[in-house]
Amino acid sequence: MMDSIEGFVNVILGLLFTPQIFVPLVYPGLLTAAVMAIVIIWLERKVAAKVQLRYGPLYVTKRMGGVTQLVADLIKFFFAEVIVPRDVDKLPFKLGPALLLTFSLLPVVALPVSGQFEAFRSDATLFLAVALLSVGPIYVIIVGWASNNKFALIGGLREGYLLVCYELPVFISALAMAVLYGSLDLVELVRMQGPGLWGALLNPFAAVSFLVATFMSTSRFPFEIAEAESEIVMGPYTEYSGICYGLCMAYSYIKLYVKSILFALVFLGGWLPTVWPFTLDPTLPGLIVAFKAAAVMLVGVFLRAVYPRYRIDQALQIGWRPLFALSTASLVWSLFMVGVKVGGWV
């Protein structure tokens, strides 16, 4: 009997630790994403509070500075009534939040966080990750439309406008890096950054435009435009309540998390500098990536304490002019660097 239980546990553990399950469910997938989101939201509130001469969340686990406040909030969200207004388009309204979250998390399957432990191997993971990331916002527009609320509609439209203007710099700067390192495979990309030649150093233009576009796409200040509270209440999510609202809120943080990992891989050297023999085990490399991603996220949430928000037309101008120009310049810069290398001028 004991044997069979032990055997069962072993089978489950074995299954859990197969990359195809571990990656989407545990790390860097769902579980880590949830923990990261909780910690980052807490940090965001703590950082903003400190800058603003306040304490921030404190009384839920006071000794740890209130870090479990977000767990309490999550439980509250679970038990709050989900109100579906009479006049909404019910199916997309109910499915929307789940799909939002799914598509913001899905790209993790394409992110190798340790070099050898990965869900599947492809030589176009960078492309796949960026492409999957651009699906989520479409559901923002859909929930905005389905909500049958003027504020939600305006919020959805704003997201729609922004989508076009931030995805382009993301794609072009990712392309610039692919050109620079001559590969679309993230593992290869990280390996190429080996001798300290991190992407952010080789091509800072691409790094900056990718980062700004990331903040734009995850509703960080000063680009928190689709949900601008004092203008359009909560944008596309105005009609949501309970856990459905919780999912919508989590969406932008999860997306920030995924994009930060991507940024860490492409521009911050991924799991480098890890030296043999630590490269044999995926744990340390994974932690390094998580740490770098957390640092990027922290920058993103810190901006809340610094900025007001731009107007939609100004954000679009930023997206289409400086950001687009910068990402294009980064592509040119990459071509130049590759030319230097190939020509052997140095």
Partner: protein, 154 residues
């Protein structure tokens, strides 16, 4: 949308300023249940009646802008009672009393279990407001204006 050098400088300066506060000490919030602000001298808190001094002149009830003070008939004289549902803490009653029978206390905790408890008849008015419930481990702090931090609580 310009993005010249001065703008970048301004962006950096804004972020620097916020960062400065991230590491600096000031906090204006009083961590309330742990620290309790002491009300300063001369604070216009809840009011207490001195029955012996009162001469039943009714001035306090007459000047009360919100009709919170009413005169109650007692055996020997008419005495004021106060309704804290209405009181707006202007302190006019205290200031007009010709014999200084009313005085401010340093209590401003208007929390009662029931509505009738808000009404202090002369007897209760004379006893003064009940001392507020204070959580265990609460320390009383005084506010002091500080040049760097705005407030110091000690």
């Amino acid at each position: 949308m310009r993005l010249g050098l001065p703008d970048i400088k301004a962006h950096v300066r804004a972020s620097e300023t916020a960062l400065k506060y991230l590491t600096a000490k000031p906090r204006i919030t009083v961590p309330y249940p742990e620290a309790l602000l002491e009300l300063p001298q001369g604070y216009r808190g809840m009011v207490k009646l001195n029955v012996e001094t009162c001469i039943s002149c009714t001035q306090c009830a007459r000047i009360c802008p919100s009709n919170a003070i009413k005169m109650h008939k007692r055996e020997r004289k008419r005495l004021p009672g106060i309704n804290y549902q209405r009181c707006i803490f202007c302190g006019f009653c205290v200031d007009i009393c010709p014999v200084i029978a009313l005085e401010f206390t340093d209590v401003h905790d208007l929390a009662f279990h029931t509505l009738p408890e808000h009404l202090f008849e002369p007897e209760g008015f004379a006893k003064g407001p009940p001392p507020p419930h204070v959580a265990r481990g609460t320390r009383k702090v005084r506010t002091e204006i500080d040049e760097v931090r705005g407030f110091k609580y000690e």
